[in-house]
């Protein structure tokens, strides 16, 4: 069981990184960005590209995060920005288009096969309580933890971070008091997609890289966002951990092939019992 909890924390970290960006853009722009998973995959493959150039891993991660942030901003600028006046369904469908586009570009460049960042075999370290953990996994947990702390400080302390939370609460009021909303939206995409890239890279590190990887992880991420309450980054952090841990712990009782059922179950339960989520106040639209 302790081993499953550790596995859950690893998956949870990845889900949290993916869901912070999704919840912020969902809360502010009021649409479910289905391309968010594929943004994660794009980040993961960018990292593979940099590793191919013999860039050190940490540098490759940082470079991929920056470029993916730019990619998110570019997608918003080219596609979503023009559709903001339309209903959220139009944006949602546009995001599915963006998702398919990203996935196929990845597949075109890197091929459909499974890829690993490194072919060397890592020895798991033995810890008390029969826990085994690979160095990569320690890195994932530590790096995610640092990123989450950084996001927390950014959202709580910085002017732009506070404005992001304000926009997520009440976009109209933000405009009325003089916040340049488009500028904050720009930064939100950058932050969200940079974190998504980190999540994607860590997912690739823990499992492997496939063009479909982002699409597959989208369900637990959405479950985390809705569980935490749409628009709440702290909700996404809590939700992501809960989803990650409960998925892994469930494998003690059910066939691991069905573990994504757990996300579905939690998603359905939340929607039935407390649709606004743990930290959410907003009514969900559509």
């Amino acid at each position: 069981m302790p081993q499953l909890i550790i596995n859950g924390i690893i998956m949870g970290s990845i889900i949290v990184l993916g869901s912070i960006g999704l919840t912020l853009t969902y809360g502010i722009l009021n649409f479910a960005n289905f391309a968010h998973g594929d943004i994660m995959a794009a980040g993961a493959y960018l990292c593979l590209f940099f590793l191919g150039l013999n860039v050190p891993f940490v540098v490759a991660v940082i470079l991929s995060m920056c470029i993916t942030a730019g990619l998110g901003i570019l997608i918003d600028w080219c596609i979503y920005r023009k559709l903001r006046e339309k209903t959220s369904v139009v944006l949602l469908i546009a995001s599915i288009g963006a998702a398919l586009f990203l996935r196929n570009v990845v597949q075109l460049i890197f091929g459909p096969q499974l890829v690993y960042y490194s072919s060397e075999i890592q020895m798991a370290k033995k810890l008390p309580f029969g826990i085994r953990i690979k160095p990569d996994e320690i890195f994932i947990i530590a790096a995610s933890f640092l990123l989450i702390i950084a996001v927390h400080l950014f959202l709580k302390r910085s002017r732009i971070g506070k404005a992001m939370r304000a926009l997520s609460d009440n976009m109209q009021l933000a405009g009325v008091i003089g916040i340049e909303t488009e500028k904050i939206i720009f930064w939100t995409w950058g932050l969200g997609c940079a974190l998504a890239a980190a999540g994607g890279i860590f997912l690739g590190l823990e499992v492997q890289l496939r063009p479909m990887m982002g699409w597959d992880v989208l369900l637990p991420i959405f479950a985390a966002v809705i569980l935490g309450g749409i628009g709440s980054p702290y909700g996404a952090m809590a939700g992501g951990m809960i989803i990650g841990i409960s998925q892994e712990v469930s494998t003690a009782f059910i066939n691991p092939a069905y573990k994504s059922v757990v996300s579905f179950m939690i998603l359905i339960l939340v929607l039935l019992i407390k649709p606004s989520g743990i930290f959410g106040k907003k009514e969900r639209l559509a």
């Binding site: 002017r159 506070k162 404005a163 109209q172 009021l173 003089g178 916040i179 106040k281």
Partner: protein, 236 residues
């Protein structure tokens, strides 16, 4: 006294629907001015039109001797006019302090003194600086909303129904705060009020609107004592 706001015969509305059909009005630098009138007469839309939230079809708006017709809210805010909406006028998941920070978003100087001033006007708020604004009572939220707007040291404050939804004793409290802000913060105030009597009592002047047009204009006292207005709008 020189006027801070001068509106010449504006028409405004949503899409192609004209709701405000020709209203003229002026506010002097030290005045409290109330706009009263029956429901659905375009009072709130008029206020929104001044602040650039609703399209102005014809007419002109001068603020501080500058034509601001057609400017966007974020441009108007920078000229020191603030607008406090009737509802949804705070950020519920942010703390009181963070809400005030957001009120000062367009400022790049040190505004800590200003925050203390706001706490001075609304001592209740200073008690829960780190409480989430969504947990405040309705009245406290309204006070916070006005406090946010004071962060910009406005020359003119537009208030949309500041007393709506408040308990009777809170209405008096709110009116006292508005007088205080007018006197101490040197902010001219233009407010739309459902609670016409209470509003006119503290107002230098008032305008009565009907069907999107000016009906009467006079000092607060004149309007309070006018029998026609009393019958029609003050519920006597």
């Amino acid at each position: 006294m020189e006027s801070i706001l001068k509106i010449e015969n504006i028409a405004a509305g949503y899409g192609r629907v004209e709701i405000v059909k020709g209203i003229s009005l002026h506010v002097s630098k030290d005045e409290i001015v109330s706009i009263i009138g029956p429901n659905g007469t375009g009072k709130s839309t008029f206020l929104k039109a001044i602040f650039g939230l609703v399209k102005v079809f014809t007419g002109n708006i001068f603020f501080d001797n500058e034509d601001i017709t057609g400017l966007k809210p974020h441009q108007i805010v920078k000229r020191s006019m603030c607008y406090v909406p009737q509802d949804n006028n705070i950020f519920p998941s942010l703390t009181i302090k963070e809400n005030l920070d957001m009120g000062a978003f367009v400022r790049h100087d040190d505004y800590s003194k200003n925050i203390e001033e706001v706490y001075g006007i609304f001592p209740l708020l200073s008690g829960f600086k780190n409480k989430k604004a969504g947990e405040l009572s309705g009245g406290q939220q309204k006070m916070l909303a006005i406090g946010m707007s004071l962060m910009l040291k406005p020359k003119l404050l537009l208030l949309d129904e500041p007393s709506a939804g408040l308990a009777p004793n809170m209405v008096d409290e709110m009116m006292k705060k508005i007088e205080l802000i007018n006197r101490e913060e040197k902010a001219a105030i233009l407010m739309v009020e459902q609670n016409a009597k209470r509003a006119l009592k503290i107002s230098n002047r008032g305008y009565v609107l009907s069907m999107g047009k000016n009906m009467y204009e006079g000092t607060g006292e004149e309007l309070l004592n006018n029998k026609d207005i009393g019958k029609l709008y003050l519920g006597e």
